[in-house]
Structures are given as C-alpha cells and as structure tokens.
C-alpha cells in the first residue's frame, strides 16, 4: 500500500499545493511540510511548558506565604501573553499546513492531494511526518548499497569471463612473457619456416595438421548466401530452392559492391562433418585479424549463422561464449598470430563428442551454473600455437576447468 502511495505522490505533485508553490517539486513541498510540522511540534511543546507555568503561578497564588500576589499576577500575565502568542503561531502554522494540503479532513478518508495516510507517531515512538519517508530513506540507502554491490559483481564476473588472464597477476605475466618470446620465434621459423601472417599459409598448415577439418573462406555476401542455403536442422527440403532465391535477391546488390569485396576474405568457416561448424569473421576484410567467432550444429542453417550469432543448441552456445574469452586471450599478445592460434584451437573441438574431461574422466556432466548435462566445452589454449598436435588441448567441463575460480 505504501508503494502505491509513493507512486501517486510522484504522479500527482501538482494537486498538493493549491495556493502557493504549485510548481515546486514534491520533495520541496515535503521538506516544507516537515519544517512546518516541526515548528508546530516546538510550539506545542512551548504551549505545554507555558501551561505548566500557568499552573505554577496559580499554585503560588493559592499559597500566599511563598510569594506575593503581585509576582504571581505578573507571572500569570506574562504566561498569558506568551500562551496567546504560541497559540497564534500554532494557528498560523496549521493554516499553512492546511493550505499545502497536509492537514485536511478528506485526507483521512481517501487519498487526496498526495495520497498520504500519515501516522504521526511511529510504533517505536518517533514522530515522523510521513511514515513512508522513513521507508523511502531506508530504501534509498539500502538500494544504493545493493546497486553498488550488484554493479561490482557484474563487473568482476565479466572481467573473469572475458579477461581471465588479467586476474592472476604474477603467474600469468611470466607465462605470457614466455609466450611472447615463443610467438616471435614462430614468426621467424624454428624448424620449418612458417609465416602465419597470410591466409593461404594458415590454411595449408591447418590442412596438414587437422585433415578432418574443412577450412573454407568467403566474402561477406557469399557467406550470407551460403548460410541461407544450408539445410536447417530437421528439414532437408529444397536447399537448392533456397539458394536460388537468395541468388535472385542478392544479384541486385552485386553490381556495385561485388567489384570491391570480391577478393576480400571476411569469413572463415571450419566444418567438421557431424560435429560442428565454426564461423570466424575477419575485420577488416582481407586481413588476418579475427574479431568474433561462433559455433553451430552441423545441421543448422539460416541467416543467423554468423560469427556474432548464437546456435539454437546449448552446447554450441556455451562453446561460443568460451571462445570469445579465448579469442581475447590470443588477441592480447598483439603478435598477429591470433588467427592461427584461434583456428588451431577451434580444430581441437573435433573431439567434442568423444574426448572425456581430463579432470573427472567422463564425457557428460551436469553443469552447475546452467543445470544442463553437457560434454566438456573447454579446451586448454595456453599451449597454442606451438603445439605439434592438438592432443595438448585437454578437454574440461565448465565446472572441472582449472581456469575457473
């Protein structure tokens, strides 16, 4: 009930003051009314004291031994004057309060100007103008703390998710230094000369290392065509039909853009039949800088199949999230080897449905956070890209991973 009143207060500020200060905001009116009520309370206290003094004076007059009638008369007159003054003050304050709509008879029956029902004395004896004000003040204080706490939690969660290597200051620094050194060795070629700065080189290297993974490159438009022509899960009807329609619509776009983007590779697709399809986008097109990656089921198809899209299945959704963290890690080295490392890491998921978790030994486990039964979605990435083969990429469940705090 009190929150409803607060709402009404916010919505009907103008009804409050009918004579003056109509344009003042409710908080100011509340403050004024509080002030006046405090004044009224002081005046009432003064009146009480004054009444005591009057009684005292009367007592004195009835006991002529303690004082003369003169002094008591003086006393009485003085008190009378001050009492009248106090009562006059009280009356004027009362009038002001009535004008500002605080003290009205109608208030008791139905929510009027401010819709306030005000017990002036709270159960614990404190005199408060508006009972809800205490609640509001309390709430404001509490919610500020809560909001801060939630914001801090959200920030640390995100930091942990996307930049886990920042957390562990000392340990990661030494490891990243070692990697930086080894990455430059890679660039200049250790055993065999390998330049992972060009796409064809990367592609041929991957073909040798992971022959089961099909690596293909596309421009942005041609990827869109391909995504739409892939058979969607569960329906094998007429993929050629779908691709025909897409060709028709995109031919209009072709004329101007095609010439520009024809040679620029912007999307890399890694497809392991029956296991997964991963989409990596390069930004800018034609470079070797990956900017996003997403995993999908091999049976999925449609325009939502792109590097910032999400699969309809939980397992691929979770891997995609993990992949963004890993991508940030590889990009963090700044040595230009991010694409090769990323693609190599993606290929380690060839064993998604066969390699059990290195910690618990099982393939499936109940993930605590999402309450889902999932295979190991994490693959170790710190040893890449120097690995001779992908066996070093150990598999872990979300809850078993050593990276997880």
């Amino acid at each position: 009930m009190q929150s409803l009143q607060q709402l009404q207060l916010l919505q009907n500020p103008t009804e409050a003051a009918n004579s003056q200060s109509e344009l003042e905001a409710p908080p100011k009116q509340v403050a004024q009314a509080m002030e006046r009520l405090n004044q009224a309370a002081r005046v009432i206290a003064d009146i009480r004291l004054g009444a005591d003094r009057v009684f005292e004076a009367l007592f004195l007059t009835s006991h002529p031994r303690t004082s003369t009638t003169d002094t008591s008369l003086q006393l009485l007159l003085k008190e009378d004057a001050s009492m009248r003054q106090h009562l006059h003050d009280l009356r004027s304050i009362g009038k002001k309060l009535e004008e500002s709509g605080v003290l009205t008879e109608s208030l008791r029956s139905r929510s009027n100007s401010w819709g306030l029902h005000m017990p002036l004395v709270c159960p614990d004896g404190a005199v408060v103008a508006y009972a809800w004000k205490r609640q509001l003040a309390g709430q404001a204080g509490a919610s500020a703390v809560d909001r801060t706490r939630l914001a801090l939690k959200a920030f640390t969660d995100q930091k942990r998710r996307f930049f886990p290597h920042i957390d562990d200051g000392v340990k990661m620094e030494s490891r990243s230094k070692k990697h930086r050194a080894s990455h430059s060795v890679l660039e200049h070629g250790g055993g065999e000369p390998f330049d992972c700065k060009t796409l064809p080189d990367i592609q041929s290297r991957l073909e040798k290392l992971v022959p089961n993974v099909k690596v293909s490159t596309y421009g942005r438009l041609s990827w869109l065509k391909r995504a739409n022509s892939l058979p969607g899960s569960g329906s094998d009807d007429d993929p050629p039909e779908a691709s025909k329609l897409v060709f028709q619509s995109s031919s209009k776009l072709r004329s101007g853009l095609e010439a520009e983007v024809a040679d620029k590779v912007a999307v890399i697709e890694l497809y392991v039949p029956s296991v997964f399809r991963a989409v990596v986008s390069l930004n800018p097109a034609g470079s070797v800088d990956p900017d996003s990656v997403a995993f999908f089921s091999p049976d999925e198809g449609g325009s939502y199949l792109h590097s910032r899209g999400f699969s309809a299945h939980h397992v691929y959704k979770h891997i995609t999230e993990h992949a963004s963290t890993v991508l940030q890690y590889f990009l963090g080295f700044g040595t230009g080897t991010a694409l090769y490392s990323l693609l190599l890491w993606i290929c380690s998921f060839e064993s998604l449905f066969s390699k059990p978790c290195s910690k618990c030994g099982r393939l499936l486990a109940m993930d605590k956070k999402s309450a889902l039964i999932l295979p190991p979605l994490h693959r170790a990435y710190q040893e890449l890209p120097l690995a001779a083969n992908l066996d070093v990429c150990e598999a872990y469940h979300g809850g078993c991973s050593p990276d997880d705090s």
């Binding site: 029956s274 939980h314 499936l364 309450a371 889902l372 039964i373």
Partner: protein, 220 residues
C-alpha cells in the same frame, strides 16, 4: 534429424509393469532438471494379410508392423524385421489398406506419455497400451540428442546419458530397468545420418523384445 535411442522397461523376474514406474520415471526426469513439455503419442499396428483362401501361407511374414511416429504426423512407417525391411509411406496408406481390404490390423497398440526437455536432450516416457484396453503392456523411453544427427558420433554421448539416467533412477529402487537394444542399422540399409526409419526399426525391435518378456497386467 537428431539421433534418438529407444529403450524399453524390463521388469525383474516375477515383477510386473505398472503406471507407478511411469510416474517414477517422470519424477526422475524432473530431478535432473528436466522441463516437462507436454504429451506425445504414437500408434503401432501388427498386420496380417487378408487372402481369399484362408490357408496358412508359410512364406508370408508374420511380423509385418506399421507405426506412426509423433515427430512425423504425415508419414507412416512399415517394418518387416525378419526381412530387414523398412519403408516410409504417406499417412493415408492406412486408409488405402482399409479400402482395399488387403491387410487387416490384428493387434493395435497406443504409446502415450510425457515429454521432457533436458538442455540439449529430449526425453519421452510413455506406456504401451492395447487399444480398447486399460492394461499396460510395457513402458518405452525415447532419448534424443538434438545437436547432432550422426549415429556414430552421438554414440558415446547417448551411452553416458543413459548411464546418468540409470544412476538417477536407481535411487528410486524400482524392480526393473530400462534396456537399450544393440542395433545394426546397416542391416536395414540405413546409414549413419539419423532418419525416422531408424526410429521405426528401433521400435520394431523393442516390440519384439517386449512381447517376449513382459506379461500383461489386468489393472495398470
């Protein structure tokens, strides 16, 4: 189409099948964070040919089965297990058979029960009931892994899921267990990519096992 395994309930020696097991299975699904999605049903018919001379033709197969699947409402599947044949037909074939009076259904069974979603898994548990009867002949369970459709690739995942299921169910100390049948889809001419025909074949084999092992109960 996602890979599906069909399991059936095998009661312990001397015990019978009852709806209690169905309820226990439903609760078990919920205990591993399953979300109830609704009901499902399917029908199965055993056919025998209508011949002019009613003498026994020994070479005509006796296990000619027709099944409608919940996932494919517009299709009907025929299986002759002994000859390793599975065929997909339009659902109207039943009407045609009736009009032609070529084959008559000698046994009709209903499957019906509840469906659960457990992340990327879909579980269906249902009872097997003869039409025009209330007695339960058995209980079947379908487990589907939605992300992939390769029978081989999904094998390990399905095996482990069934293990997790057994573990969860064993806490309820029921007198029996769900059994998976070892299938060779290749014998039926089916490939690694899962199709409704694979489901049809699994049901045919499950029914054969069920008829051999389960005794009917008067009151489910």
């Amino acid at each position: 189409m996602p890979v599906k395994w069909v399991l059936y309930w095998q009661p312990n020696q001397g015990s019978t099948v009852s709806t209690q097991i169905l309820n226990e299975a439903a609760q078990c699904a919920e205990s591993i964070n399953g979300v109830k999605e609704g009901r499902w049903k399917a029908t199965l018919n055993y056919y025998k040919p209508m011949l002019r001379d009613q003498s026994n033709h020994p070479d005509l197969p006796r296990d000619f089965l027709g099944i409608s699947l919940a996932d494919q409402p517009s299709k009907y599947y025929f299986i002759i297990r002994s000859q390793r044949i599975v065929v997909e037909a339009d659902a109207s074939i039943q009407l045609i058979m009736e009009k032609l009076q070529s084959y008559k259904s000698k046994v009709s069974l209903y499957f019906d029960g509840f469906q659960y979603q457990l992340g990327d898994f879909r579980l269906r548990v249902g009872r097997v009931v003869p039409v025009h009867s209330e007695s339960i002949r058995g209980i079947v369970m379908e487990v589907e892994y939605l992300p992939i459709s390769s029978v081989e690739k999904a094998r390990k995942v399905m095996e482990e899921f069934v293990e997790i299921w057994h573990e969860a169910l064993s806490k309820r100390s029921l007198s029996g267990k769900f059994v998976n049948t070892e299938l060779n889809f290749g014998e039926f001419g089916l490939g690694d990519h899962y199709t409704p025909q694979h489901t049809g074949v699994q049901y045919a084999i499950v029914m054969a096992h069920m008829i051999a092992t389960v005794q009917p109960v008067v009151r489910g």
